[in-house]
Symmetry: D2
Subunit: 144 residues, 4 copies
Protein backbone atom coordinates (compact mmCIF):
# COMPACT_ATOMS: atom_id res chain seq x y z
CA UNK A 1 0.00 0.00 0.00
CA UNK A 2 2.73 2.51 0.92
CA UNK A 3 4.53 4.35 -1.89
CA UNK A 4 7.99 5.08 -0.42
CA UNK A 5 9.74 2.82 -2.94
CA UNK A 6 7.74 4.19 -5.90
CA UNK A 7 8.77 7.71 -4.89
CA UNK A 8 12.46 6.75 -4.55
CA UNK A 9 12.35 5.12 -8.00
CA UNK A 10 11.20 8.43 -9.55
CA UNK A 11 13.63 10.70 -7.63
CA UNK A 12 15.82 12.63 -10.12
CA UNK A 13 19.07 12.38 -8.11
CA UNK A 14 21.07 9.80 -6.19
CA UNK A 15 20.59 8.93 -2.56
CA UNK A 16 22.76 7.96 0.37
CA UNK A 17 21.45 4.39 0.83
CA UNK A 18 20.37 1.37 -1.24
CA UNK A 19 16.77 2.11 -2.38
CA UNK A 20 15.34 -1.10 -0.94
CA UNK A 21 16.80 -0.50 2.53
CA UNK A 22 15.82 3.16 2.49
CA UNK A 23 12.20 2.44 1.48
CA UNK A 24 11.95 -0.27 4.15
CA UNK A 25 13.17 2.11 6.87
CA UNK A 26 10.84 4.94 5.78
CA UNK A 27 7.81 2.63 5.75
CA UNK A 28 8.78 1.08 9.10
CA UNK A 29 9.07 4.56 10.65
CA UNK A 30 5.65 5.75 9.49
CA UNK A 31 4.03 2.49 10.56
CA UNK A 32 5.73 2.75 13.97
CA UNK A 33 4.68 6.40 14.40
CA UNK A 34 1.02 5.51 13.76
CA UNK A 35 1.10 2.36 15.91
CA UNK A 36 2.67 4.20 18.88
CA UNK A 37 0.06 6.99 18.58
CA UNK A 38 -2.71 4.38 18.66
CA UNK A 39 -1.06 2.43 21.51
CA UNK A 40 -0.84 5.57 23.68
CA UNK A 41 -4.53 6.22 23.04
CA UNK A 42 -5.52 2.61 23.80
CA UNK A 43 -3.45 2.64 27.03
CA UNK A 44 -5.26 5.83 28.05
CA UNK A 45 -8.61 4.02 27.70
CA UNK A 46 -7.55 0.99 29.81
CA UNK A 47 -8.75 0.41 33.41
CA UNK A 48 -5.15 0.14 34.62
CA UNK A 49 -4.02 3.45 33.07
CA UNK A 50 -2.07 4.16 36.28
CA UNK A 51 0.29 1.28 35.44
CA UNK A 52 0.62 2.48 31.86
CA UNK A 53 1.94 6.04 32.39
CA UNK A 54 5.49 5.26 31.27
CA UNK A 55 4.14 3.29 28.32
CA UNK A 56 2.02 6.26 27.18
CA UNK A 57 4.91 8.71 27.52
CA UNK A 58 7.45 6.59 25.66
CA UNK A 59 4.81 5.82 22.98
CA UNK A 60 4.30 9.56 22.40
CA UNK A 61 8.03 10.25 22.14
CA UNK A 62 8.52 7.28 19.82
CA UNK A 63 5.65 8.46 17.58
CA UNK A 64 7.20 11.92 17.21
CA UNK A 65 10.78 10.79 16.64
CA UNK A 66 9.79 8.06 14.13
CA UNK A 67 7.66 10.57 12.19
CA UNK A 68 10.58 13.00 11.98
CA UNK A 69 13.05 10.24 11.08
CA UNK A 70 10.75 9.19 8.20
CA UNK A 71 10.79 12.79 6.94
CA UNK A 72 14.57 13.18 7.12
CA UNK A 73 14.96 9.86 5.28
CA UNK A 74 12.39 10.99 2.67
CA UNK A 75 14.46 14.10 1.84
CA UNK A 76 17.56 13.23 -0.17
CA UNK A 77 18.25 16.65 -1.76
CA UNK A 78 20.47 17.87 1.06
CA UNK A 79 21.41 14.57 2.63
CA UNK A 80 23.63 15.07 5.70
CA UNK A 81 25.23 11.76 6.77
CA UNK A 82 26.17 12.80 10.32
CA UNK A 83 22.78 14.26 11.22
CA UNK A 84 21.04 11.24 9.68
CA UNK A 85 23.22 8.76 11.59
CA UNK A 86 22.65 10.55 14.93
CA UNK A 87 18.90 10.75 14.31
CA UNK A 88 18.77 7.07 13.36
CA UNK A 89 20.66 6.18 16.52
CA UNK A 90 18.26 8.18 18.73
CA UNK A 91 15.30 6.62 16.90
CA UNK A 92 16.62 3.06 17.29
CA UNK A 93 17.27 3.54 21.02
CA UNK A 94 13.77 4.96 21.51
CA UNK A 95 12.13 2.13 19.52
CA UNK A 96 13.98 -0.44 21.63
CA UNK A 97 12.98 1.35 24.87
CA UNK A 98 9.35 1.54 23.69
CA UNK A 99 9.33 -2.15 22.74
CA UNK A 100 10.76 -3.10 26.15
CA UNK A 101 8.11 -1.06 27.98
CA UNK A 102 5.26 -2.41 25.82
CA UNK A 103 6.45 -5.98 26.34
CA UNK A 104 5.83 -5.59 30.10
CA UNK A 105 2.11 -5.14 29.35
CA UNK A 106 1.85 -7.38 26.28
CA UNK A 107 0.34 -10.38 28.10
CA UNK A 108 -2.81 -8.47 29.12
CA UNK A 109 -2.95 -5.72 26.47
CA UNK A 110 -2.81 -6.91 22.87
CA UNK A 111 -2.19 -3.38 21.55
CA UNK A 112 1.06 -3.36 23.54
CA UNK A 113 2.04 -6.71 22.00
CA UNK A 114 1.44 -5.37 18.48
CA UNK A 115 3.25 -2.12 19.28
CA UNK A 116 6.30 -3.92 20.70
CA UNK A 117 6.60 -5.98 17.54
CA UNK A 118 6.27 -2.92 15.28
CA UNK A 119 8.88 -0.99 17.33
CA UNK A 120 11.39 -3.86 17.06
CA UNK A 121 10.81 -4.06 13.30
CA UNK A 122 11.40 -0.31 13.00
CA UNK A 123 14.61 -0.50 15.06
CA UNK A 124 15.86 -3.29 12.77
CA UNK A 125 15.00 -1.44 9.55
CA UNK A 126 16.76 1.71 10.82
CA UNK A 127 19.80 -0.30 11.93
CA UNK A 128 20.24 -1.48 8.33
CA UNK A 129 21.01 2.16 7.41
CA UNK A 130 23.73 2.67 10.03
CA UNK A 131 27.40 3.18 9.29
CA UNK A 132 29.74 0.41 10.41
CA UNK A 133 30.95 2.41 13.40
CA UNK A 134 27.62 2.79 15.16
CA UNK A 135 26.03 -0.32 13.72
CA UNK A 136 27.93 -2.73 16.01
CA UNK A 137 26.73 -0.94 19.13
CA UNK A 138 23.13 -0.83 17.91
CA UNK A 139 23.11 -4.51 16.85
CA UNK A 140 24.25 -5.37 20.39
CA UNK A 141 21.39 -3.26 21.77
CA UNK A 142 18.83 -5.01 19.55
CA UNK A 143 20.16 -8.43 20.51
CA UNK A 144 20.22 -7.61 24.24
CA UNK B 1 2.50 -3.81 6.18
CA UNK B 2 0.72 -1.06 8.16
CA UNK B 3 -0.89 -1.94 11.49
CA UNK B 4 -3.76 0.58 11.78
CA UNK B 5 -6.43 -2.14 11.59
CA UNK B 6 -4.62 -4.42 14.07
CA UNK B 7 -4.46 -1.53 16.54
CA UNK B 8 -8.16 -0.73 16.13
CA UNK B 9 -9.04 -4.40 16.70
CA UNK B 10 -7.25 -4.31 20.09
CA UNK B 11 -8.67 -0.94 21.22
CA UNK B 12 -10.59 -1.37 24.53
CA UNK B 13 -13.45 1.03 23.69
CA UNK B 14 -15.76 1.84 20.80
CA UNK B 15 -15.01 4.24 18.00
CA UNK B 16 -16.91 6.72 15.92
CA UNK B 17 -16.56 4.96 12.53
CA UNK B 18 -16.66 1.42 11.06
CA UNK B 19 -13.22 -0.11 11.77
CA UNK B 20 -12.53 -0.96 8.13
CA UNK B 21 -13.22 2.59 6.90
CA UNK B 22 -11.29 4.13 9.78
CA UNK B 23 -8.21 1.95 9.21
CA UNK B 24 -8.32 2.69 5.47
CA UNK B 25 -8.41 6.46 6.09
CA UNK B 26 -5.59 6.35 8.67
CA UNK B 27 -3.35 4.35 6.33
CA UNK B 28 -4.20 6.56 3.36
CA UNK B 29 -3.29 9.66 5.38
CA UNK B 30 0.13 8.39 6.50
CA UNK B 31 0.91 7.16 2.98
CA UNK B 32 -0.12 10.55 1.55
CA UNK B 33 1.93 12.46 4.15
CA UNK B 34 5.07 10.50 3.23
CA UNK B 35 4.45 10.68 -0.51
CA UNK B 36 3.92 14.46 -0.43
CA UNK B 37 7.11 14.92 1.62
CA UNK B 38 9.05 12.90 -0.98
CA UNK B 39 7.36 14.70 -3.91
CA UNK B 40 8.33 18.12 -2.50
CA UNK B 41 11.92 16.91 -2.17
CA UNK B 42 11.99 15.44 -5.70
CA UNK B 43 10.50 18.67 -7.15
CA UNK B 44 13.26 20.61 -5.39
CA UNK B 45 15.88 18.49 -7.18
CA UNK B 46 14.38 18.98 -10.67
CA UNK B 47 15.89 21.29 -13.32
CA UNK B 48 12.56 23.13 -13.69
CA UNK B 49 12.17 23.84 -9.96
CA UNK B 50 11.00 27.37 -10.87
CA UNK B 51 7.85 25.87 -12.42
CA UNK B 52 7.32 23.64 -9.39
CA UNK B 53 7.12 26.25 -6.58
CA UNK B 54 3.36 25.90 -6.08
CA UNK B 55 3.66 22.12 -6.22
CA UNK B 56 6.33 22.11 -3.48
CA UNK B 57 4.31 24.42 -1.23
CA UNK B 58 1.03 22.52 -1.55
CA UNK B 59 2.93 19.22 -1.08
CA UNK B 60 4.35 20.51 2.22
CA UNK B 61 0.96 21.67 3.48
CA UNK B 62 -0.66 18.40 2.42
CA UNK B 63 2.04 16.37 4.20
CA UNK B 64 1.47 18.25 7.47
CA UNK B 65 -2.32 18.18 7.40
CA UNK B 66 -2.50 14.49 6.42
CA UNK B 67 -0.09 13.59 9.22
CA UNK B 68 -2.22 15.45 11.77
CA UNK B 69 -5.45 13.97 10.38
CA UNK B 70 -3.99 10.47 10.79
CA UNK B 71 -3.22 11.28 14.44
CA UNK B 72 -6.68 12.66 15.21
CA UNK B 73 -8.23 9.58 13.58
CA UNK B 74 -5.88 7.30 15.56
CA UNK B 75 -7.12 8.78 18.87
CA UNK B 76 -10.60 7.54 19.74
CA UNK B 77 -10.54 8.16 23.52
CA UNK B 78 -11.89 11.68 23.29
CA UNK B 79 -13.46 11.54 19.85
CA UNK B 80 -14.98 14.92 18.91
CA UNK B 81 -17.24 14.55 15.83
CA UNK B 82 -17.34 18.24 14.86
CA UNK B 83 -13.58 18.80 15.04
CA UNK B 84 -12.98 15.53 13.18
CA UNK B 85 -15.45 16.43 10.40
CA UNK B 86 -13.93 19.90 9.92
CA UNK B 87 -10.39 18.48 9.88
CA UNK B 88 -11.42 15.81 7.37
CA UNK B 89 -13.00 18.46 5.17
CA UNK B 90 -9.84 20.61 5.22
CA UNK B 91 -7.72 17.52 4.52
CA UNK B 92 -9.90 16.40 1.58
CA UNK B 93 -9.83 19.88 0.01
CA UNK B 94 -6.04 20.04 0.36
CA UNK B 95 -5.54 16.53 -1.08
CA UNK B 96 -7.70 17.47 -4.09
CA UNK B 97 -5.78 20.73 -4.57
CA UNK B 98 -2.45 18.87 -4.31
CA UNK B 99 -3.60 16.21 -6.78
CA UNK B 100 -4.72 18.92 -9.25
CA UNK B 101 -1.36 20.72 -9.00
CA UNK B 102 0.67 17.49 -9.32
CA UNK B 103 -1.37 16.44 -12.37
CA UNK B 104 -0.12 19.53 -14.22
CA UNK B 105 3.44 18.14 -14.00
CA UNK B 106 2.62 14.42 -14.16
CA UNK B 107 3.51 13.99 -17.85
CA UNK B 108 7.16 14.93 -17.33
CA UNK B 109 7.67 14.10 -13.62
CA UNK B 110 6.67 10.60 -12.57
CA UNK B 111 6.84 11.48 -8.85
CA UNK B 112 4.06 14.01 -9.46
CA UNK B 113 1.99 11.32 -11.20
CA UNK B 114 2.40 8.95 -8.24
CA UNK B 115 1.69 11.75 -5.76
CA UNK B 116 -1.50 12.83 -7.56
CA UNK B 117 -2.81 9.28 -7.44
CA UNK B 118 -2.00 8.91 -3.73
CA UNK B 119 -3.65 12.27 -2.90
CA UNK B 120 -6.85 11.28 -4.74
CA UNK B 121 -6.93 7.94 -2.90
CA UNK B 122 -6.49 9.76 0.43
CA UNK B 123 -9.29 12.22 -0.39
CA UNK B 124 -11.58 9.28 -1.21
CA UNK B 125 -10.75 7.35 1.97
CA UNK B 126 -11.36 10.46 4.09
CA UNK B 127 -14.63 11.19 2.28
CA UNK B 128 -15.90 7.76 3.39
CA UNK B 129 -15.76 9.06 6.98
CA UNK B 130 -17.81 12.20 6.37
CA UNK B 131 -21.26 12.85 7.78
CA UNK B 132 -24.10 13.02 5.25
CA UNK B 133 -24.26 16.81 5.45
CA UNK B 134 -20.72 17.54 4.28
CA UNK B 135 -20.31 14.35 2.25
CA UNK B 136 -22.41 15.54 -0.68
CA UNK B 137 -20.33 18.67 -1.11
CA UNK B 138 -17.06 16.75 -0.91
CA UNK B 139 -18.20 14.04 -3.36
CA UNK B 140 -19.01 16.82 -5.83
CA UNK B 141 -15.52 18.22 -5.30
CA UNK B 142 -13.91 14.83 -5.89
CA UNK B 143 -15.95 14.29 -9.05
CA UNK B 144 -15.20 17.79 -10.40
CA UNK C 1 11.38 36.09 21.66
CA UNK C 2 9.53 34.49 18.71
CA UNK C 3 10.42 35.60 15.17
CA UNK C 4 7.17 35.09 13.24
CA UNK C 5 6.74 38.82 12.59
CA UNK C 6 10.39 39.31 11.60
CA UNK C 7 10.01 36.50 9.06
CA UNK C 8 6.80 37.96 7.61
CA UNK C 9 8.50 41.36 7.26
CA UNK C 10 11.23 39.78 5.09
CA UNK C 11 8.90 37.65 2.95
CA UNK C 12 9.32 38.58 -0.77
CA UNK C 13 5.60 38.33 -1.69
CA UNK C 14 2.22 39.39 -0.35
CA UNK C 15 0.15 37.42 2.10
CA UNK C 16 -3.51 36.75 2.70
CA UNK C 17 -3.81 38.51 6.09
CA UNK C 18 -2.62 41.69 7.86
CA UNK C 19 0.95 40.92 9.05
CA UNK C 20 0.24 41.78 12.68
CA UNK C 21 -2.77 39.44 12.91
CA UNK C 22 -0.98 36.68 11.03
CA UNK C 23 2.12 36.84 13.26
CA UNK C 24 -0.07 36.84 16.39
CA UNK C 25 -1.95 33.72 15.24
CA UNK C 26 1.25 31.84 14.28
CA UNK C 27 2.86 32.60 17.65
CA UNK C 28 -0.33 31.70 19.55
CA UNK C 29 -0.49 28.35 17.71
CA UNK C 30 3.10 27.34 18.48
CA UNK C 31 2.72 28.43 22.10
CA UNK C 32 -0.52 26.44 22.38
CA UNK C 33 1.03 23.35 20.76
CA UNK C 34 3.88 23.35 23.29
CA UNK C 35 1.64 24.11 26.28
CA UNK C 36 -0.79 21.29 25.39
CA UNK C 37 2.12 18.84 24.98
CA UNK C 38 3.40 19.81 28.43
CA UNK C 39 -0.11 19.71 29.97
CA UNK C 40 -0.71 16.16 28.68
CA UNK C 41 2.61 15.10 30.20
CA UNK C 42 1.87 16.80 33.54
CA UNK C 43 -1.61 15.20 33.66
CA UNK C 44 0.02 11.82 33.07
CA UNK C 45 2.21 12.36 36.16
CA UNK C 46 -0.71 13.32 38.47
CA UNK C 47 -2.15 10.99 41.12
CA UNK C 48 -5.64 11.38 39.65
CA UNK C 49 -4.60 10.45 36.10
CA UNK C 50 -7.80 8.37 35.82
CA UNK C 51 -9.86 11.57 35.98
CA UNK C 52 -7.60 13.23 33.40
CA UNK C 53 -7.91 10.80 30.46
CA UNK C 54 -10.10 13.09 28.35
CA UNK C 55 -7.85 16.03 29.18
CA UNK C 56 -4.76 14.16 28.00
CA UNK C 57 -6.41 13.04 24.77
CA UNK C 58 -7.78 16.47 23.83
CA UNK C 59 -4.41 18.05 24.78
CA UNK C 60 -2.63 15.71 22.35
CA UNK C 61 -5.05 16.46 19.51
CA UNK C 62 -4.86 20.19 20.19
CA UNK C 63 -1.03 20.08 20.17
CA UNK C 64 -0.99 18.37 16.76
CA UNK C 65 -3.62 20.54 15.11
CA UNK C 66 -2.14 23.81 16.44
CA UNK C 67 1.33 22.79 15.21
CA UNK C 68 -0.03 22.07 11.73
CA UNK C 69 -2.09 25.27 11.69
CA UNK C 70 1.05 27.27 12.54
CA UNK C 71 2.80 25.64 9.56
CA UNK C 72 -0.02 26.31 7.09
CA UNK C 73 -0.14 29.94 8.27
CA UNK C 74 3.67 30.21 7.94
CA UNK C 75 3.51 29.20 4.26
CA UNK C 76 2.17 32.00 2.10
CA UNK C 77 3.58 30.89 -1.28
CA UNK C 78 0.59 28.80 -2.23
CA UNK C 79 -2.00 30.29 0.10
CA UNK C 80 -5.36 28.52 -0.26
CA UNK C 81 -8.13 30.53 1.45
CA UNK C 82 -10.69 27.71 1.71
CA UNK C 83 -8.30 25.13 3.18
CA UNK C 84 -6.92 27.76 5.58
CA UNK C 85 -10.40 28.80 6.76
CA UNK C 86 -11.50 25.19 7.35
CA UNK C 87 -8.27 24.41 9.21
CA UNK C 88 -8.64 27.54 11.35
CA UNK C 89 -12.22 26.57 12.16
CA UNK C 90 -11.20 23.04 13.24
CA UNK C 91 -8.32 24.52 15.26
CA UNK C 92 -10.55 27.07 17.03
CA UNK C 93 -13.16 24.42 17.91
CA UNK C 94 -10.45 22.14 19.31
CA UNK C 95 -8.82 24.95 21.32
CA UNK C 96 -12.20 25.83 22.84
CA UNK C 97 -12.90 22.16 23.65
CA UNK C 98 -9.43 21.79 25.21
CA UNK C 99 -9.89 24.97 27.28
CA UNK C 100 -13.29 23.75 28.52
CA UNK C 101 -11.85 20.37 29.56
CA UNK C 102 -8.78 21.94 31.24
CA UNK C 103 -11.00 24.38 33.14
CA UNK C 104 -12.70 21.43 34.88
CA UNK C 105 -9.34 20.58 36.50
CA UNK C 106 -7.93 24.10 36.84
CA UNK C 107 -8.75 24.52 40.53
CA UNK C 108 -6.49 21.65 41.61
CA UNK C 109 -4.00 21.46 38.72
CA UNK C 110 -2.27 24.74 37.86
CA UNK C 111 -0.93 23.36 34.55
CA UNK C 112 -4.55 22.92 33.44
CA UNK C 113 -5.29 26.54 34.42
CA UNK C 114 -2.34 27.81 32.35
CA UNK C 115 -3.26 25.54 29.43
CA UNK C 116 -6.90 26.69 29.41
CA UNK C 117 -5.79 30.31 29.23
CA UNK C 118 -3.31 29.62 26.41
CA UNK C 119 -5.95 27.64 24.43
CA UNK C 120 -8.48 30.50 24.72
CA UNK C 121 -5.83 33.01 23.58
CA UNK C 122 -5.02 30.78 20.58
CA UNK C 123 -8.71 30.46 19.66
CA UNK C 124 -9.05 34.25 19.76
CA UNK C 125 -5.94 34.90 17.65
CA UNK C 126 -7.12 32.37 15.04
CA UNK C 127 -10.63 33.87 15.02
CA UNK C 128 -9.11 37.20 13.98
CA UNK C 129 -8.09 35.52 10.70
CA UNK C 130 -11.54 34.19 9.83
CA UNK C 131 -13.66 35.37 6.93
CA UNK C 132 -16.87 37.19 7.82
CA UNK C 133 -19.02 34.15 7.04
CA UNK C 134 -17.51 31.77 9.57
CA UNK C 135 -16.35 34.44 11.99
CA UNK C 136 -19.82 35.10 13.44
CA UNK C 137 -20.31 31.44 14.31
CA UNK C 138 -16.86 31.15 15.89
CA UNK C 139 -17.27 34.37 17.92
CA UNK C 140 -20.50 32.93 19.31
CA UNK C 141 -18.61 29.76 20.23
CA UNK C 142 -15.88 31.73 22.00
CA UNK C 143 -18.44 33.78 23.88
CA UNK C 144 -20.49 30.71 24.88
CA UNK D 1 4.76 35.26 25.40
CA UNK D 2 5.64 31.53 25.45
CA UNK D 3 4.59 29.45 28.45
CA UNK D 4 7.24 26.71 28.63
CA UNK D 5 8.58 27.96 31.97
CA UNK D 6 5.09 28.39 33.48
CA UNK D 7 4.30 24.79 32.53
CA UNK D 8 7.54 23.47 34.05
CA UNK D 9 6.81 25.37 37.28
CA UNK D 10 3.46 23.54 37.60
CA UNK D 11 4.76 20.06 36.70
CA UNK D 12 4.08 17.62 39.58
CA UNK D 13 7.41 15.74 39.36
CA UNK D 14 11.09 16.45 38.97
CA UNK D 15 12.90 16.88 35.69
CA UNK D 16 16.28 16.03 34.26
CA UNK D 17 17.56 19.60 33.77
CA UNK D 18 17.54 22.98 35.55
CA UNK D 19 14.12 24.53 34.81
CA UNK D 20 15.58 27.74 33.36
CA UNK D 21 17.84 25.93 30.89
CA UNK D 22 15.09 23.49 29.94
CA UNK D 23 12.52 26.24 29.29
CA UNK D 24 15.08 28.19 27.23
CA UNK D 25 15.83 25.16 25.05
CA UNK D 26 12.14 24.31 24.52
CA UNK D 27 11.31 27.87 23.49
CA UNK D 28 14.39 28.11 21.25
CA UNK D 29 13.36 24.87 19.50
CA UNK D 30 9.77 25.96 18.76
CA UNK D 31 10.96 29.39 17.58
CA UNK D 32 13.55 27.71 15.33
CA UNK D 33 10.99 25.24 13.93
CA UNK D 34 8.66 28.10 12.96
CA UNK D 35 11.44 30.30 11.58
CA UNK D 36 12.86 27.48 9.41
CA UNK D 37 9.36 26.70 8.05
CA UNK D 38 8.92 30.37 7.12
CA UNK D 39 12.45 30.62 5.66
CA UNK D 40 11.84 27.60 3.40
CA UNK D 41 8.62 29.22 2.17
CA UNK D 42 10.28 32.61 1.60
CA UNK D 43 13.18 30.95 -0.29
CA UNK D 44 10.62 29.21 -2.50
CA UNK D 45 9.15 32.60 -3.45
CA UNK D 46 12.52 34.18 -4.37
CA UNK D 47 13.65 34.78 -7.96
CA UNK D 48 16.87 32.83 -7.35
CA UNK D 49 15.10 29.73 -5.98
CA UNK D 50 17.52 27.58 -8.02
CA UNK D 51 20.39 28.77 -5.79
CA UNK D 52 18.32 28.11 -2.66
CA UNK D 53 17.49 24.39 -3.07
CA UNK D 54 19.89 23.24 -0.35
CA UNK D 55 18.69 26.02 1.93
CA UNK D 56 15.05 24.93 1.52
CA UNK D 57 15.85 21.28 2.16
CA UNK D 58 17.94 21.88 5.28
CA UNK D 59 15.31 24.36 6.55
CA UNK D 60 12.62 21.67 6.26
CA UNK D 61 14.70 19.08 8.08
CA UNK D 62 15.65 21.57 10.78
CA UNK D 63 11.98 22.55 11.28
CA UNK D 64 10.95 18.91 11.78
CA UNK D 65 13.80 17.94 14.09
CA UNK D 66 13.49 21.08 16.24
CA UNK D 67 9.74 20.50 16.60
CA UNK D 68 10.31 16.92 17.75
CA UNK D 69 13.15 17.95 20.09
CA UNK D 70 10.81 20.51 21.72
CA UNK D 71 8.28 17.72 22.30
CA UNK D 72 10.77 15.28 23.81
CA UNK D 73 12.05 18.06 26.10
CA UNK D 74 8.45 18.97 27.05
CA UNK D 75 7.78 15.38 28.25
CA UNK D 76 9.51 14.69 31.56
CA UNK D 77 7.36 11.74 32.74
CA UNK D 78 9.50 9.08 31.11
CA UNK D 79 12.71 11.03 30.66
CA UNK D 80 15.35 8.92 28.90
CA UNK D 81 18.82 10.58 29.19
CA UNK D 82 20.51 8.67 26.36
CA UNK D 83 17.76 9.22 23.80
CA UNK D 84 17.52 12.89 24.80
CA UNK D 85 21.28 13.43 24.49
CA UNK D 86 21.43 11.78 21.04
CA UNK D 87 18.42 13.80 19.84
CA UNK D 88 19.94 17.03 21.16
CA UNK D 89 23.19 16.21 19.39
CA UNK D 90 21.41 15.59 16.06
CA UNK D 91 19.39 18.78 16.55
CA UNK D 92 22.47 20.91 17.33
CA UNK D 93 24.35 19.59 14.29
CA UNK D 94 21.35 20.30 12.05
CA UNK D 95 20.88 23.82 13.47
CA UNK D 96 24.57 24.59 12.85
CA UNK D 97 24.34 23.20 9.28
CA UNK D 98 21.18 25.24 8.64
CA UNK D 99 22.78 28.41 10.02
CA UNK D 100 25.86 27.89 7.83
CA UNK D 101 23.72 27.42 4.70
CA UNK D 102 21.49 30.43 5.50
CA UNK D 103 24.55 32.62 6.12
CA UNK D 104 25.62 32.07 2.48
CA UNK D 105 22.44 33.89 1.37
CA UNK D 106 22.09 36.33 4.29
CA UNK D 107 23.54 39.34 2.43
CA UNK D 108 20.76 39.38 -0.19
CA UNK D 109 17.92 37.61 1.67
CA UNK D 110 17.04 39.04 5.08
CA UNK D 111 14.91 35.99 5.99
CA UNK D 112 18.06 33.88 5.71
CA UNK D 113 19.90 36.32 8.01
CA UNK D 114 17.13 36.07 10.64
CA UNK D 115 16.96 32.28 10.27
CA UNK D 116 20.73 31.85 10.68
CA UNK D 117 20.63 33.84 13.92
CA UNK D 118 17.67 31.84 15.28
CA UNK D 119 19.35 28.52 14.37
CA UNK D 120 22.57 29.51 16.17
CA UNK D 121 20.57 30.57 19.26
CA UNK D 122 18.76 27.21 19.22
CA UNK D 123 22.03 25.28 18.92
CA UNK D 124 23.40 27.19 21.91
CA UNK D 125 20.32 26.64 24.08
CA UNK D 126 20.36 22.91 23.28
CA UNK D 127 24.10 22.68 23.99
CA UNK D 128 23.42 23.95 27.53
CA UNK D 129 21.51 20.68 28.14
CA UNK D 130 24.30 18.36 26.99
CA UNK D 131 26.22 15.99 29.24
CA UNK D 132 29.90 16.80 29.74
CA UNK D 133 31.02 14.03 27.39
CA UNK D 134 29.27 15.31 24.26
CA UNK D 135 29.27 18.95 25.27
CA UNK D 136 32.96 19.53 24.48
CA UNK D 137 32.57 18.26 20.94
CA UNK D 138 29.43 20.35 20.34
CA UNK D 139 30.99 23.54 21.80
CA UNK D 140 33.87 23.08 19.37
CA UNK D 141 31.34 22.73 16.53
CA UNK D 142 29.52 25.92 17.58
CA UNK D 143 32.80 27.82 17.83
CA UNK D 144 34.10 26.56 14.46
Amino acid sequence: MAHARAMLDTYPGEFGFPAEDLAAAIEACIDCAQTCTACADACLAEDDVVELRRCISVDLNCADLCATTSRLLSRQTDYDPTVTQRTLEACIRLCVACAAECEKHAHHHKHCAVCAEVCRACAKACTDLLNDEVEQEMRALLGG
